[in-house]
């Protein structure tokens, strides 16, 4: 039995193709049951997200299975095989295990380290488990994938740093204010990036939201969206006195906030800290304002720099993560290969127990006069002899050597263990 992964992701296929091969809604259940019946496939699970579609399977003959799965994909989605075949990747054995571990640990993601994929993978396995399409091998693989991902999460800092401008703003705000829930926030102007950053702040607990826009009506609309209050643009300076976080993106050609103005504001607010984020290009807030005590001004380049350096750090952490995955893959492979010898070891012991039982019974019938304690002693001795005799072959079977398959065959022959040779 072998682990097999076949699928496509954002690197190998464009969004159009990913959409056409996706298993959405009811298709997921239909898909997984159909896959279960594909010849050579013994266990199966199915992942379908916006960035990837992957089939995890446990198969007999890998080439045959892969071929059958491709046929299934083509008929299920009514596509020609040639339409998608070039975008598919196929991993078997240890490579497949590594692939699953990397996906779970978010090393294969579009944004390395993003945490959603692990949850999605957990859902996939819960679903497969509830539909009983997986068995020993895939269940273990999933469990190990999840524990490996957790190990990567705790032992590296891969998911620690913000990698979007919005998140970087939140991260900085938390280093200034700790808790954002009691803080007042003002959106000065509008714009896609500013609104996105604002949404991040609101998701992180900011409750009081003010919107000051040059067109008051637009401001009201935005304010409604954030559950906030619209104020007149001309009044924003007064509002600054009790606002702690400001995102500015007005599109004005020059500064709307000067150092003198800010100094006055700071005096009025008794120097309570302020975090200003200027997303506008050209800048709307005089950069000299950053020099005022308790004022922290970041422009869009500053935030981008934070993001870039975090990205770099993630890459470094990803290397550490790869080493952890190497270790876990090796452990898993050992477990898989030990699977093969386990039935033989069990059979060998059964055979020996059988012989011992039979011979002991014969002996008792031959000498009926022997008392119970002596019988006990004799049985004890027989067990000891049996254990000693089967120990060396058992130990040899447990050892992880290259010629183990031959060894298994040889031991079966020597001890007359007739095979239930189908390895299922």
């Amino acid at each position: 039995m072998k682990v097999l992964v076949i699928g496509l992701n954002h690197k190998t296929a464009n969004v159009e193709l990913r959409e056409r091969l996706a298993f959405n809604g009811p298709k997921l259940e239909d898909g997984i049951f159909s896959l279960r019946n594909v010849p050579e496939v013994r266990e199966v699970a199915l992942l379908s997200t916006c960035n990837r579609v992957e089939i995890y399977a446990c198969v007999g003959n890998a080439n045959l299975a892969a071929d059958n799965i491709k046929d299934f994909l083509s008929s299920f989605h009514s596509l020609l095989r040639t339409d998608f075949e070039n975008s598919l990747y196929l991993h078997t054995g240890p490579d497949a295990v590594r692939h699953v571990f990397r996906v779970a640990s978010s090393l294969d993601s579009m944004i390395v380290g993003e945490p959603q994929i692990l949850g999605q993978l957990k859902d996939v396995f819960d679903f497969a488990l509830s539909k009983k399409t997986t068995g020993v091998l895939l269940n273990k693989l999933m469990k190990k994938a999840i524990s490996t991902a957790k190990r990567v999460r705790t032992e590296t800092r891969i998911a620690e740093n913000a990698v979007s401008v919005g998140f970087a703003a939140v991260e900085l705000a938390k280093k200034i204010f700790t808790d954002l829930s009691g803080k007042a926030f003002m959106l000065l102007g509008a714009g896609e990036m500013a609104e996105l950053a604002a949404r991040h702040l609101v998701n992180n607990g900011v409750q009081e939201v003010l919107v000051a826009n040059r067109t008051y009506e637009r401001g009201c609309e935005l304010a409604k969206e954030f559950n906030g209050k619209a104020v007149k643009f001309e009044d924003f300076l007064q509002e600054l006195v009790h606002t702690d976080i400001i995102i500015c993106s007005t599109g004005a050609p020059s500064y709307v906030l000067s150092k003198d103005q800010m100094q006055k504001v700071m005096k009025e607010r008794k120097h309570r800290p302020v975090f200003l984020i200027d997303i506008s290009v050209p800048r709307n807030i005089d950069p000299l304002i950053n020099k005022i005590d308790n004022v922290y001004l970041y422009d869009v380049d500053d935030l981008q720099e934070v993001v870039d350096s975090n990205m770099l750090e993630r890459k470094k952490e990803a290397e550490k993560a790869e080493r952890i995955i190497d270790e876990e893959v090796e452990k898993f492979n050992k477990w898989i290969s030990s699977l093969d010898s386990v039935p033989t070891i069990v059979a060998l012991r059964q055979k020996a127990e059988e012989i011992k039982g039979e011979e002991f019974e014969k002996f008792r019938n031959k000498f009926p006069g022997i008392d119970e304690p002596t019988l006990k002693a004799i049985e004890y001795m027989a067990t000891a002899v049996m254990n000693k005799l089967i120990h060396p072959p058992t130990a040899a079977l447990k050892e992880d050597t290259e010629d183990r398959d031959e060894l298994i065959a040889m031991i079966k022959k020597l001890y007359g263990i007739n095979g239930d040779d189908n390895e299922e």
Binding site: K175, I176, K270, H271, R272, D293, Y296, Y298
Partner: protein
């Protein structure tokens, strides 16, 4: 026995300090926990050495420079643990344990003999006055460490170079809050220490205030921290300014503590 306990405590604090310094460059949850455990063991041993000496001398062991430095260090660790319990800021140890270690080291090089208590000192004021004074000074010592942390974090945020300790230092708001709390705790303690000191001076030497160098420098300290609190409440001098003032304040305390005793002639000869 007393010596062994003291040396043992010093060794534990030393080890914890080394870990705390390494922590600055390469920190992890494990090293942080290890530092706390070792400091905790050191603190227990240190406590028992003080108790041992209390029974050996028959009074609070705080009448020689050796004893006083050691007791000072003990108070600092006590406050450090109270803060750690409330805020759980592992990296704080890196800024406070070095202070503890320096105090313990100065204590260890000073003469350790137990001298009979001179008659002027034999008073219940000894325990009250000194305990208040040391607890107050210890709060200021921790405020000093926290002030440095604030300045460092503020520097990271202002310069926009967000690496190094930036991730592990807590937010400016927390650091400022701790600084304020420590000074609000230390200030009344210092005030009470000065008042009880004056009362004691009256009963021992016959006058409340003699412009003795120790008294003058303690008053200077008192004014500095009174200023810190005053400008904070009236003019909103928080954050960086408060941090700088608490660093200056602690430098004056160190001078009052070591400098006055070693350099200037003072009636307050013991500590």
């Amino acid at each position: 026995m007393g010596t062994i306990l003291f040396e043992l405590a010093l060794t534990f604090y030393f080890t914890a300090t080394i870990i705390s310094v390494v922590e600055v460059f390469k920190g992890s949850k494990e090293s942080s926990r290890l530092m706390l455990i070792i400091t905790g063991i050191g603190f227990l041993i240190h406590s028992s050495s003080i108790i041992y000496r209390y029974f050996a001398a028959g009074h609070l062991p705080i009448t020689s420079m050796h004893e006083a430095s050691s007791f000072f260090a003990w108070c600092v660790v006590l406050i450090f643990f109270l803060l750690e319990y409330k805020y759980k800021i592992g990296i704080m140890g890196s800024f406070i344990l070095p202070v503890v270690f320096v105090l313990m080291l100065s204590s260890s090089v000073l003469p350790r003999g137990i001298h009979p208590l001179s008659p002027v000192l034999q008073s219940y004021w000894l325990g009250i006055h000194t305990f208040l004074a040391f607890l107050g000074n210890a709060s200021f010592a921790v405020a000093f460490g926290v002030g440095i942390m604030y300045l460092l974090q503020e520097h990271y945020l202002k310069s926009k170079h967000l690496h190094g300790l930036f991730k592990r230092l807590p937010s400016l708001q927390i650091l400022d809050e701790i600084n304020y709390k420590l000074i609000s705790l230390g200030f009344p303690l210092l005030t009470l220490a000065i008042i009880t000191g004056a009362l004691w001076a009256e009963s021992a030497w016959g006058s409340y205030w003699r412009w003795d160098p120790k008294e003058v420098w303690s008053l200077t300290t008192w004014f500095i921290y009174a200023l810190v609190l005053h400008v904070r409440l009236t003019a909103g001098w928080r954050g960086r300014k408060a941090a700088i003032l608490s660093i200056i304040g602690f430098s004056v305390i160190l001078f009052t503590f070591f400098g006055v005793n070693l350099l200037l002639k003072s009636l307050h000869s013991f500590v």
